[in-house]
């Protein structure tokens, strides 16, 4: 008896690529569709001024979304970022009003953010309390603290032009907040893509016990990502304060959901392990573009919320069908 042994032939690498990056490809496609659609519907939309506008507006969200991507990758969540932004934003205005030089104030605020995040992260990682509960408590605490600090006043920031430049200035024609956001995004991307720390974050989210077993400092890593959201929230708070020229406890309400929406839309999984920094950027920008585009199209404000929701849902739906291959006709169409 003779048997014929043949080896498998490797199929097209493109298929693996599409499978591996389905979610990013999907949000990228949809982002482009949005750009084209709004570009067609409004003359102003694709003007450099408007595009820069969008990036400047999205900058605080982008900055926090980068850190949030890391938190969510560890299967955690940080619901307190909006309150942290409000708190630091108020604290910054008070500090600067009190005469502290603004560069010093910036350093102090970033340190305060790191501390707040560090404490929350400690409860999550070393005490094993669900991140949702810890940061929900934080959401309440820091918003309350912001209220207490400002007593409802919005505190103007005066005589700190250098500081205000952070929010309003431009460098080489590009708004400073946009530049800062781009730097943060690049840093976040490189960290997650090609550093041992990024690898540790993914490992902790994929299989925390496995990460611990291979000797990774799993708890420290989990703790650290909350420090990062703290610092990022502080940075976002500074950008907002500089843009608004004031600090107020009213700032950044619902901010956390906007940030998380961008991250999840970009394909990072709330169950941990699955991450995409590019996806986060595209997800966040998509939401910003929709908000901007609808106003440019003069959609009635009574409809904007409905339209925004429907667009996001249909978009992700369409793209899921496109890229997971379930759109094949007939058999194999259902997966069970």
């Amino acid at each position: 008896m003779s048997t014929t042994y043949t080896e498998r032939v490797a199929g097209s690498a493109l298929r693996d690529f599409v499978t591996d990056f389905a979610q990013v490809l999907s949000i990228a496609t949809f982002f482009i569709i949005c750009l084209v659609f709004f570009g067609t519907m409004s003359d102003v939309f694709l003007t450099p001024a408007n595009l820069l506008n969008i990036v400047r507006q999205a900058a605080p969200i982008l900055v926090v979304a980068v850190a949030m991507t890391m938190v969510i990758t560890t299967a955690g969540i940080d619901l307190s970022v909006g309150s942290q932004v409000a708190f630091i934003n108020a604290l910054a205005a008070i500090t600067i009003s009190a005469g502290v030089p603004w560069p010093v104030a910036i350093v102090l605020m970033l340190a305060a953010g790191a501390m707040i995040g560090g404490v929350q992260g400690w409860f999550v990682s070393y005490q094993g309390i669900p991140a949702f509960i810890v940061t929900l408590a934080g959401l309440s605490i820091y918003r309350g603290a912001a209220l207490l600090l400002t007593e409802g006043y919005s505190i103007p920031i005066r005589d700190a032009d250098g500081f205000l430049w952070l929010g309003r200035g431009t460098l080489l024609g590009i708004p400073v907040p946009a530049l800062i956001a781009v730097l943060v995004v690049i840093a976040g991307f490189v960290v997650m893509w090609r550093t041992p720390y990024g690898r540790q974050i993914i490992a902790c989210g994929s299989n925390l016990e496995a990460a611990r077993r291979v000797g990774m400092p799993a708890r420290r890593v989990v703790n650290s990502v909350y420090v990062l959201t703290g610092v990022a929230s502080a940075l976002a708070a500074l950008l907002l304060a500089a843009r608004l020229g004031s600090g107020s406890s009213n700032a950044a309400q619902g901010f956390e959901l906007q940030v998380i929406a961008g991250v999840v839309l970009g394909g990072t999984s709330l169950m941990g392990g699955k991450t995409s920094m590019i996806g986060t950027v595209l997800g966040t920008l998509t939401i910003a573009v929709i908000g901007n585009g609808l106003i440019l199209m003069h959609v009635s404000p009574f409809f904007t919320q409905i339209v925004t929701g429907v667009i996001i849902l249909l978009a992700i739906w369409m793209n899921t069908r496109l890229f997971t291959g379930t759109w094949k006709i007939g058999k194999g169409a259902s997966n069970g």
Binding site: M1, S2, T3, T4, Y5, T6, E7, R8, V9, A10, G11, S12, A13, R15, D16, T19, K331, G332, S334, N335, G336
Partner: protein, 261 residues
């Protein structure tokens, strides 16, 4: 690209009964991304016999088993169950046709207790409610038959030892009168006595007319329960032997591709 063993004896001859196969697969293909997991596989299973399915790691044994159990949908190929063409869209379809499988990854629900996992998808009820007492009683019998000791049947399966978990998966698949029982490396984590119990179980269900597919890397077990052995290589079936016509060395050679003597 297809590379099934053409020189093997025709179907009828390898079958123990000479009758019609219980289940028959033809030209099954399955591709994941760029990877051809199965490149056209034919296989028959007869009632009351055990087919051993062996092959190197990643040869495609689990993929083929899952297709029979309805877990994967093949890209191409035909399946016949008792002469009737079938196309499973989900494991529920296969289970409705009395096809049960012990999965290599066990497929247990970690948050559910031992009893609950044993009766998963087939809970016993009293009126609209779960009949926990009845299930515990039957669970004890089911496990005793496999000689496995689990002190607390209401403990979550998460914390059990590897062997205990595997025994639960086996008990679950074997206890509900399947017509076809697929076991994907069912004894890999079991101790000596428990392996014996599983082999005994296979021989018992065969007598009842069940068709068994046994995927295993434990060559010595094949000769104790299998009537026929199919060898897979890189997504194809390269050989099929009656157990009495072959021996360990030949099988090992067939697996690694030194076959064809």
């Amino acid at each position: 690209m297809m590379a099934t063993d053409t020189s093997i004896a025709p179907e009828g001859e390898t079958s123990p009964s000479g009758g019609k196969p219980l289940m028959s697969l033809k030209g099954i293909r399955k591709t994941f991304g760029s990877h051809q997991a199965l490149r056209g596989v034919d296989l028959d299973i007869f009632a009351g016999e055990c087919v051993g399915l062996i092959g190197d790691n990643a040869a495609g044994k689990s993929t083929l088993s899952k297709i029979i159990a309805g877990t994967h949908i093949p890209d191409d190929g035909h399946m016949m169950l008792r002469d009737e063409p079938v196309r499973f869209q989900s494991p529920a379809d296969a289970r409705a046709r009395h096809i049960e499988m012990v999965y290599q990854d066990l497929s247990l629900c970690d948050h559910i207790d031992v009893v609950g996992n044993l009766f998963l998808g087939r809970e016993m009820t009293k009126g609209p409610f779960l009949d926990q007492d009845q299930m515990i009683k039957r669970a004890e019998e089911m496990l005793a038959r496999l000689e496995i000791r689990i002190p607390r049947l209401t403990a979550k399966v998460e914390k059990l030892s590897g062997g205990q978990r595997q025994a639960i998966a086996i008990a679950r698949a074997a206890s509900f009168e399947p017509d076809i029982l697929i076991m994907d490396e069912p004894t890999s984590a079991l101790a000596v006595a428990e392996v014996e119990a599983v082999l005994g179980l296979i021989n018992r269900v065969k007598e009842r007319g069940v068709g068994v597919i046994l995927v295993t890397h434990r060559m010595q077990d094949l000769f104790r329960v299998c009537d026929r052995i199919a060898v897979m290589y890189e997504g194809t079936k390269v050989a099929e032997r009656r157990t009495q016509d072959t021996n360990l060395e030949e099988l090992v050679d067939l697996i690694v591709g030194k076959g064809g003597h």
